[in-house]
Amino acid sequence: MAKRTGIEVSIAVSEAVKLANTDVIAAYPITPQTHIVEHLAELVAQGELNAEYIPVESEHSAMSACLGSSAAGARTFTATAGQGLELMHEVVYVASSMRLPIVMAVANRALSGPLSVWGDHSDVMSVRDTGWIQIFVENGQEAVDNTICAFRMAEDSRVLLPVMVHLDGFHLSHMVEPIMMPDQKEVDEFLPPFNYPLPLDPSKPVTMGAFAPPIVFTEAKWAQEMNLEQSKDVILEVWKKFGDKFGRYYNPVECYRCDDCETLIMTMGSFSETAMMAIDKLREEGKKIGLFRIRLWRPFPFEEVRETVKNAKAIIVLDRAISLGMGGPVASELRNALYPLEKRPKIMGFVGGLGGRDITPTDFEKIIKRGLEIAAAGSNREFEIYGVRE
């Protein structure tokens, strides 16, 4: 039987990787992801996890080793954050275009400069277009559950795509939380063995990662896009089956007290739970404000987002990253997703919580108040930064 344990979230993610009977881990330590791979190294060294641990010399090598391992048909995991994700950047694209179902935890961190080891979503935004399935988690339980789900989604023969599980650096990765750790038997029943259809095999040679001339490149990219779009059905199916077995259900877009709301706030990641506290308080004061969060960042859940906001008149978005010269990346994606609607809500973008700065429930209240002011004034300002000292 599964039991509730007080455990650091990073360690819990490593334990989930162990429960998934991962064959190969190739990783390089970087703050704030270090505890995940450090604990996995311990589990392998102590013989608790029968896996190959490849201590590589950089993140570029980590992802490259993962390509080889996954192509050989081994269940493969890695983890990184911030600058590490940047260093592996070019290979991140190769993993998805070669359709290798690697699972990677990303303990989201700000990008230099100035140098920061603390959390925000700059690193996520730099890998938006890499063709990976990307899932945001908000607490330790979701991190464990979605790490296990990620393997099943990735390795499904209809998908065969790598999956990133995004958890906020420090704000989530370093918390000690009560988590229901599933037991081995349950995970074994849930997670079928990995069978890559065309693995590296000397008796049946194939060429992987060959170049594509202009005459096939467009077809190759469209095949990849179709594959990523169609993976959504399997993602939903895996979450449903996980829920039926473990009692915890996940959705591409998660709502909190959204019903009958004309004003919604939108977040991604662990700050969502802080926002819920602000929502509760404002609801008690009789203000009809709800919260929705994007859990499935890629493939982007257009239909679910449009359905969620269909009655909204104003949406306040908190972006934990800044796309310099443009604004809040999530707010701009939301504008893109809602543009085809006949009745478009106003969207107020805020950039805040950068480089590890906290956003408290009181901050959320201020953001909501300011957002409603802007909406009432009918301003078309693209975005505002929250909490900057003038």
Binding site: S97, M98, R99, L100, L160, P197, L198, P205, V206, T207, M208, G209, A210, A212, P213, I215, V216, T218, E219, A220, W222, A223, M226
Partner: protein
């Protein structure tokens, strides 16, 4: 990938663009990249095979008369053979069509 890449649809692309049939390079007509092609004055040829040795495509072979000739299905027209030939047997000319 199939042999006729120009007729291949996106649905024909193998998982991750994996090449499942070995020897796909032998059916790829790299000759159509060429903008210049080699011509020969075999009266000057001493059959030293330097052109064959230097050809990066490996597409120069001896014909029945013993002369060294590029296979134009593969020859990309780089002109290295013409540059290296000690007897100036080879002249590169513009492809017209």
């Amino acid at each position: 990938m199939t042999n006729s890449e120009d007729k291949m649809t996106w649905k024909d692309v193998e998982i991750g663009c994996i090449v499942t049939k070995p020897g796909s390079a032998t059916i790829t007509q790299t000759g159509d990249w060429r903008s210049r092609r080699p011509t020969y004055d075999f009266s000057k040829c001493i059959k030293c095979a330097i052109c064959q040795t230097y050809c990066p495509e490996g597409c120069i072979h001896q014909n029945e008369k013993g002369n060294y000739v590029a296979d134009l299905f593969y020859c990309k027209g780089c002109g290295i053979c013409a540059k290296e030939c000690p007897k100036k047997v080879i002249t590169m000319i513009e492809e017209k069509e």
